[in-house]
Symmetry: C2
Subunit: 248 residues, 2 copies
DNA sequence: CTTGTCAACTGGTCATACCAATCTACTCGC
DNA sequence: GCGAGTAGATTGGTATGACCAGTTGACAAG
């Protein structure tokens, strides 16, 4: 049965934004270099100045360009000025492949934050948090056969856990990581199945949080995340090997 | 001698953006609630529609609102949709005081990421990274008397260290944390002096990185960051105590 | 009660004009 | 010759008004 996906609209300013962002991220527009004048961009892109200006505002908000009245807009170095919300657009390279460095970065970050979030949730989250987690674990058990559903549940689980840590910064970072993950989750389902398929570790962490056992929660979370990380890294190594072979 | 600060210009769309963002972050506009129509906002704010639209684009980019053609724009729950770049605007409450929860969150995050970044830098950064760090340490020794300069150097130090970790996600998170810190750095100078004043730990970490001693780099970084964290937490407790006393 | 239609919203795009800051090149005075 | 000052060109910022394109909801027809 064909699955109908909702079509995603794209306004002109969206298109302009994505085009310029892509050029900046691919290095085609170097940091410090001047952007064409707004009126020149309008003409080159065949759109109205409003569309260009709205796109520039978004680029500015994302920390990719700096705009000064009277002067010319300039490209910023996104490695110095952008925030985590740039991660989704860095994940895939121009030719549609994963950027291995970005994947590794994400795995490392969740390995650093996840266990600490679990520790804090055990310290602060209390029974209320554990109860929400248990509900998700129950759902995982119900949909044990459906890998995609397990993925959704695992994400929801971590969302509740991070909420239980009562750490805004962790929550915002989680949002960025989640947005990145979400865009490729079907591609990663198999590689991460060792982390996703088994609901027992999730139940164990929830129990540790209920018991306010911070050390146990942290250790369990670390072990759980390690499962997925090694799976993804192995898959990545296979792909890289295959690509190397191809290019011979 | 009075220090002249460069005045920061604010375009109309900047003003509109900040006003709406403030209302959303303070909870005056609830998640899910409808925003006034663009034309209504124009009239209410006394600006033209372009200014409103550009501000809405920025809010959308920041994950604070969702805009659909034909429908009404709605406020999103920033706790679920915003990224780390929101941190600076969450740090200070409406009455200009620190939000203690946000401060704690930031301290926890840097305590989680900093040591791991040091570990990775020791694994990957190599002598090149250590050399850059040493240069900063040298500058710290030169400006040992100037606390503000020490702060700048410490920030630069961590920037190079994070670069040495070769982790994009860490770098982007660092940018967001840095932007947040930068906005209040003079206020925090005293509370963090135990971390900033002494250049020896920085030199030690650089040495561990040069030796590719990941465990040592991690442990030293953890200890260093702990200094500042406890200082800030103590200052925060004092302020909270004073505020509690005031409100009696 | 369901279904189709239409009118009144909403945001999206466009064209044009003018204001304000900046940059550049030239001129003037030393 | 060289620096300061000035005028014009260039850039982004704001304003107005019109029209296009989706969404919504009321309402009439079945």
């Amino acid at each position: 049965m064909p699955v109908l996906q909702p079509v995603q609209r794209q306004s002109l300013s969206d298109a302009v934004f994505e085009q310029l962002r892509g050029q900046i991220l691919r290095g085609e527009r170097r940091p410090g270099s001047a952007l064409p004048a707004e009126r020149a961009l309008c003409e080159a892109l065949g759109v109205n100045r409003s569309a260009v200006r709205e796109a520039l505002r978004r680029l500015e908000q994302a920390g990719l360009v700096v705009v000064r009245q009277g002067g010319t807009s300039r490209v910023r170095d996104f490695r110095e000025s952008a925030s985590l919300d740039l991660l989704p657009s860095l994940l895939l390279t121009a030719d549609g492949h994963f950027d291995a460095r970005v994947v590794r970065s994400i795995l490392e970050m969740r390995s650093a934050l996840g266990p600490d979030a679990a520790r804090l949730a055990a310290t602060r989250g209390g029974a209320a948090c554990a109860q929400r987690l248990d509900a998700v674990v129950e759902a995982m058990r119900t949909d044990a056969a459906d890998l995609a559903a397990q993925q959704q549940h695992a994400t929801a689980y971590w969302g509740h856990l991070v909420d239980g840590s009562e750490n805004v910064a962790y929550r915002l970072a989680f949002n960025a990581l989640h947005a990145t993950y979400d865009r490729v989750r079907t591609l990663l389902a198999r590689a991460m199945q060792a982390e996703i398929r088994d609901s027992a570790p999730y139940a164990a962490i929830a129990d540790a949080i209920r018991c306010a056992d911070a050390d146990r929660a942290e250790a369990l979370a670390r072990a759980l995340l390690e499962r997925g990380a090694s799976g993804v890294l192995a898959a990545l190594a296979r792909v890289e090997g295959a690509t190397a072979q191809e290019s011979r």
